[in-house]
Each structure stands twice: as C-alpha cells, then as structure tokens.
Amino acid sequence: MKAPFSAYLNGLRGGLKELIALLRQDYDYVSVLATDSKGLAVRISQRSRSVSSETMTTERGVVVRVCRDGQYSEYALNNYDQAHPAAAAEEIRAALERQAALLRQTGTESFKTPVLADEPWELFVEKETEQLPETTDVKALVETLTAISDQAMTLGVDMLDCQTSAQSTHICKMFLSEHRDLRQSYVYSEGTVVAIVSREGRTQFGYEGLSGLCGPELFARLPEKAAASVAQAEELLDAGRIEPGEYEIITSPEVSGLIAHEAFGHGVEMDMFVKNRALGREYIGKRVGSDLVTMHEGALCAEDVTSYAFDDEGTPAGDVIEIEKGILKTGICDALSALRLGIAPTGNGKRENFEHKVYTRMTNTLFDSGEDSLEDMIASIKQGYLLEGMESGMEDPKHWGIQCIIKLGREIVDGKLSGKVVAPIIMTGYVPDLLGNVSMRSKDRQVFGTGGCGKGYKEWVKVSDGGPYLKTKARLG
C-alpha cells in the first residue's frame, strides 16, 4: 500500500500558502517546511518494557525561512493557526525584527547570500509500505520482541539480559514556496537486538540490527539477529587486548560503512567548504584513494532510513559519486551553501527536525563493490585483523584524521583466522593513507541504517552507510 500523506498537513496547505504570500510583501524569498511524522517505539528486555509514540524523527511543526537584503532568517513554531495567517506573519516579522535590532546594536555584519532559486515544481510522493507504525499490531510486536529476548537468554551461559527494540516512523513533509508545492510520505523502520553478558565482574554486549525503507513488517526478520548478537557478546568476554601497531586489515561491510561516513562523508559536506573547514575543497580532481575506491552519497543510492524524494529545502534527492576510482570528484551540498559556492545543490540539506537549522548532511554513503572473495582477502594477509562491528566514529575534515571505535578484531595469521579475538579496537589514521591502501574489495555490499549522525556533537539525523569487505592498512590500538 501507499504510505498516506498527512491529512493534518493537507489541512495546513492553504493557510501556509497565504502566509507565504503575506510575508513575500516584506521579504525577497519565503519558504515553509511543515512536518507531521508519527512513530512507534517498543523496547523489551528481561527487566523493563516500554511503548512510546516517539522516535528520533517524530515531529509536528512548521519552519518559515525568509531572506531580505541577502540575510537569511528562520522562525520555527508548532502552534500555527491556519485560520489566522496574518497574525502569524505579524508575529514572525516582529520576532525577527527584535533580533535584527540586537544585531544592529552590536554592529554585526551580515554574510550576504543571493536569493534562492524558486523554479516551479510540484511533487506528491507516497512510497510503498506494507504496514504503518500508527496502525500496526503493537500487541503482536511486543510478543515478538519478548520472544526474541527470552530466546536469546537461552543461547549463552553468561547472559545477563537481552534488550530488543523496534522503531518505525512515518515521515510526512511538505515544502511550500511561492512556486513550489512538494509533499512526500514514506516509512522507515529499524530494529536491534543487544545481548548483555557478564562473567567475573566483566560486562560486555553484542549488537545486531536491521533497517529499511519499509514499515513494521521489517521486524519479522529480527529474530534471526538474536544468535549473532549473543555470540558476539560471548566472544567479547573472552577477547584479549590488541598489541598496538599498524596492521593489514579487512573491514566488514559495517566497518567499511563507518569509514565511508567518517573519512569522506563529513569531509565533503560543502557547508564546511564555505567556512573553509574542510581540506577536501583543495583536493577536488585529485587522488585521495586507490583505484579500487569509488564512493556514492545520496538519498537515491540506497533504499534505507533516509531515502527521501526531496530534502528539507525543497531540493530533489540525488546520487552523487564523491570518489571515482580514487579521484575526489565532488562533495554534497545544501541549497544555501551551493549558492555561496556557485554550484548546484545535491539534495543534502537536512534538519534534525523543524526546530533546527539546515546543514549539509549525509544520507546513504556507500563504497562500491569489487570482485574479490572474503576468503581470498583473508588468504592474502600474513599478519592482520578482520574488523567487525562499529561503535562510533569521529572525523577531522580539516586535518583528515579519523577515529573509529570498533567492537572486535579477529586475528589473521598466515592467511587464516587464528581464532583469537581482540577488543575493543580504536582505529586511527590519515584518511588518504587508509583509502590509498585499499587493495581488495569483495563482491557483496551491505547497507546499515540503525545509527545516527551528529554535526560536531549535535544536530542528530538518521543516516545509513555501508560497503563491501575492504582490505587496507591501519593503525590499531
């Protein structure tokens, strides 16, 4: 079935168009993003259970963007009364004028930006889903998650608890300007199984998840994740510490995705180019990886948690080849940054929610696959590690440093897995070295969308990333 577009937003449409017309009398540009996204989150463990209608991306509100004399301003509200657009217009004008007065008093200069393009475009998209979070059978879902948790408790001798979670969000967004009228509705879902084990005062946890551009029907696949989560947790209890040093490594698709995200995901967010915060600006057209490195970014290059039709500024979704055979081709860009850089936006203008500013943000960030098999890749390593499971990452786009926290490494000796596991692992390095040393890549590629992404330490949005198994070299600690 189609995920139905919000009746609430349809009801606001006329009043918001009137608001835009009123504000256009005073401003050079006016647009509105209105959101009404509903969700369901169920969390079950052996010791506590909860049901909520809120997820990371549920919201209902309106943000108005205006531009006058090259200065962009925004007003976010969630009590818009469609019956009284004139009152809302007056409230917005007055509030922004109070800010303008303070800026005048402090002698603050404006970073002038041209007026955004507003070519006519109409779009109405309702993507396919089997179920909706608003109407799915919550009782059955609670029973499914409870059964997974109960079953997982029987799979390991050191099990302390098993936390299962299922979240599904029905996104509805409407972008309106003088000439644009865009509406989209889609559902994404994500589920996790976290097995917690403890032995002799040492506690560890295994993590398995799944995600997709679909409804709660996704959770039928969650039970198959339990065994792997428990096995990982038990392995971590027995894991040793790694001897710090530089090693040949194979990254699992999940870790490859983390590298894609941290290495050249953040590094080519082009709002950072505007601020001169990214070294990537000086490397467009230059080599940043081996011939085996090709990387895509865009809402259209995978069907996962952030595969929208248009972004939060009313720009069509894209599929950008950021790195092609090791050469940095371009970055991704929101609409205002694109104006400042004199390029076209790529459909990567995203907000945490209607209350937050737009930044250039990632959507799906993926390495291309190759022709190698995992077996051949392992066989090619004399002494190294197969790295599995991601915990977190941090980039330094100005210096091209990278930090990845990885759950575990499987030792490879003389072309074979030795059976020894080390954990946790902190992988650090210089991005061009890490990508320049990519020498093999597997045929299969996987996409992961259970995580979130911050800009610095805030502005959390959903992203997905992934890739194939990659062989390279890195410093591990």
């Binding site: 010791r47 209608s53 009590n79 818009y80 941090m394 902190i426 600690g477």
Partner: protein, 426 residues
C-alpha cells in the same frame, strides 16, 4: 490545552498519568568568522503524556507515552490518550507508584531575558583578541528561555523556568600554509563571558602548539593527566554506575555501603548531587518525574552511599528518596596540581572524541593534542590513541582538591591516571 488533556486523562480511567509541558522561546545566531550567516527564532511547546495501567489485579504495571501537539483538537487528544491507554496494557513491568507532592518548597518561574544573554555572547565573541596565526573560524549561539510545567495524577503540579544556553566555537590556527581547527562546545545557563574568553584563549594557544606538535611516541604504558573538559567523562563513569537502572539491570555491581574498588592506592573519589551550581544550565528544583532535587552524597571516599535514578528503577531497589540529579560535584582529591605534574606523563588536552563506556569500563580516544612531559622537557605531540579500563585505572587515580566547573559538573582541576595504554605513531 493542558486543562483539556488533564480532563481527558481523568475521564479515561487510566490508573495513573504524568504530563510534561515544556515551552521554549529560543534565539539563535550562526556566524561565519564574525559575519552573521543566519538568525533564527524558535517558539515551540512540547506536551508529553505518559499513562499507566494496573494489570492482572495489580501484579503488573503497564505504561505508554507520546506527544500531544499543542494544536491538537480535543477529539485528536482524546484519540491519542485512548491509544496510549490501550498500548499501556501491552507491556508488563513490576508495579511501582508515582511521586507524590512534596510540600517543602514551591517551584518558581522567573522571566529570562534571552535578548540580553544573546547580546553578551555576541559581544564576548566580537571582542576576543585574535591574531594572524589563531582566530575564530565560526560559531553558533543558542539561547533559550524554557518554562516547564509538570503534573501527575498524584497531585504534583509545578512550574519552573530556566535559561539554557550553548555556544559552539571552531578555532583555527595556521602556520606556513598549514591550517588546523579545534572544536569546542560550551553549554551554560547564561553567558559566562569571563570563562568563555579564558577557555577560548587557551584553545587558541593549543592550536598554535598543535601546529608544532610531533608524532606521539609509542609509550606503551604511561601516566596520563587530564586538565580539560574531558575530565567530566571520567567522572560521569561514577555517576552512571551509581544509576538505579544500571544497578537493577545488574550492569553495575556497586553496592551501597561498600567500596567501589577492591583497593584504592590513589585518591578515594567522592561524588555529590547538587541542586544548584553557579550558572549551570541544569539547575532544577524538581527532576523530570516531579521528585525534589536535594544535595545528596552519592559516593564518599570511594564508598557508594546513594543511588540516583528515576522512579521505576529506584522503586525496584526499594529506594523512596532517589531522584534524577542534574548537577554533580567531585571531591576527595588530596593532591596539589604541581604534585601530579611530577615525573613523566602525557597531558592530553584535545581528543577527537574521548569516551568512557560505563558498562564495560573501557576508555579510549584519539589524541589530537597532548604534551609529553618526559621528566626534563615538555613537547606537544599529536596522533595515536590511548585506551584502558576505568574499572582498573580508578584504583590508582590521583586528583586535585582544587576544582573547576564545566556547566553542570564541578570536577578536579587535574586528574592523573596511572598506566594507560598509549599507542603512538612515532
């Protein structure tokens, strides 16, 4: 709207309920260098409702929560509450009761001048002494007046207001055509102009030193000194493991009345929850569930004294006085900073992302700037990482009695960890 929701909840027949209504008026300014990139206003209200159902003759308690939009009609709110009431019957937790009204002290609301606070931030940043080598790349100012109204079915009905500010700053340093950046985030109640200026001047000096940094040597095991904001992560580990949720879930084995380590060879940490710290953005009279926040000793000389936590898990542990604290102060340090700076040690002042895992105790971080004090000389170093287990390292931890405040945490000015694994790149 709130009156309508309360009436609907009373009519619904649910066993118990809680409402949190937070109104925010926010002023935001985004700067590239010192030119205004964008200004924003936020005027929003978030009403969150949680309903409880008693199940199987009181054997279980179910709950479900959700947000009701301030624009929702009475019919829409009724449907949402009915949906929550049904969903609450689907999850079974051990029963507990909600907080009851506390007569000791009324909450208070007072006006907050967001414009004046924002002006202080703008002027403080504008007046920073920048140089050709070190300057401000960009910054984002967030100032909010928040008004919170909390009600529950036991009769709690309280309101309070508070300022909530944050500034994010990116500092650049350059030399011989090479430029690097340092990232800082400063949450606070209002603008602490003097503190902000002091921290940013120090950050500019760090930037200059990072440009001169050499690769971090492969030290193997080394003593590491924390003198910056990352110290907070070390001490959050103690607060997390004293959380009722972690204890009840058996992820923390710290028991009240017992030392948290088998053997303290260094300083024995103390930790106190405080209702107020000067200019903290977390100063509250009541916690998120309506419990009064009191100054409470959580950890005294390395012995667990009180757990902290929400009603559900505190109740399961038989604790009626527990609450969710928002401010913390660390005590117990016996050392002078000069004493902690004896012998070889690595002073890390800038990480990519320093983390301490409360469950496993693992700590790790990539080093962006550190000072290697080899006993005779001091040199800035960069690269590599440090790692270790806080569960082991806390036994030999030394820290100063002198303290420094980072928003809602007052922590020792210097903390020295012994025998941390340092993976260098030299």
């Amino acid at each position: 709207m709130l009156d309508t929701i309360v009436s609907l909840l009373k009519e619904s027949g649910v066993y118990a309920w809680e409402i949190s209504d937070v109104k925010t008026t926010g002023w935001e300014f985004y700067f590239i260098r010192h030119a205004l990139d964008q200004n924003r206003v936020r005027k929003v209200e978030h009403i969150t409702v949680k309903v409880y159902q008693l199940l199987s003759d009181g054997a279980w308690l179910g709950s479900a929560s959700g947000e009701i939009a301030p624009t929702a009609s009475a019919e829409e709110a009724r449907a949402l509450i009915e949906g929550l009431a049904y969903r609450a019957t689907l999850v079974k937790n051990k029963p507990y009761t909600l907080h009851k009204p506390h007569p000791a002290e009324a909450a208070e609301t007072k006006p907050i001048d967001a414009a004046a606070i924002a002006r202080d931030f703008v002027e403080t940043m504008r007046d920073l002494p920048e140089t050709a080598g070190e300057d401000i790349n960009s910054y984002e100012i967030f100032v909010a007046e928040k008004r919170r109204h909390f009600l529950n079915s036991e009769g709690i009905d309280l309101e309070e207001s508070y300022p909530d500010s944050m500034i994010e700053v990116v500092v650049n340093a350059r030399r011989d055509g090479h430029e690097i950046e340092l990232y800082r985030m400063f949450p606070s109640g209002t603008c602490d102009a003097e503190g902000l200026r002091r921290d940013l001047l120090r950050t500019m000096r760090y930037g200059k030193d990072r440009l001169a940094a050499r690769p971090t040597p492969a030290l193997g095991k080394a003593d590491v000194l924390f003198t910056g904001r990352d110290s907070v992560s070390l001490y959050e580990f103690f607060a997390d493991r004293l959380g009722a949720a972690m204890v009840y879930r058996k992820m923390s084995d710290w028991k009240l009345g017992e030392p948290i380590a088998a053997d303290f060879r260094g300083d024995r940490p103390g930790l106190t929850a405080l209702r107020e710290l000067p200019n903290s953005s977390k100063n509250r009279r009541y916690d998120a569930e309506g419990a009064p926040i009191r100054d409470t000793v959580l950890l005294d000389a390395g012995v667990a004294k009180n757990y902290l936590g929400g009603r559900m898990f505190s109740s399961y542990l038989g604790l009626n006085e527990a609450f969710l604290p928002t401010n913390f102060a660390v005590s117990g340090g016996s050392a002078e900073e000069a004493e902690l700076r004896q012998g070889p040690y690595l002073e890390v002042v800038d990480f990519s992302d320093f983390q301490v895992d409360s469950m496993t105790g693992d700590l790790f971080g990539e080093i962006r700037l550190a000072y290697w004090h080899d006993g005779d000389t001091v040199r800035p170093v960069s690269g590599g990482s440090l790692s270790g287990s806080m569960l082991e390292l806390m036994e030999d931890m030394r820290f100063t009695g002198a303290s420094v405040q980072y928003n809602n945490w007052r922590v020792p000015a210097a903390t020295r960890l012994k025998g941390v694994t340092v993976s260098g790149i030299e």
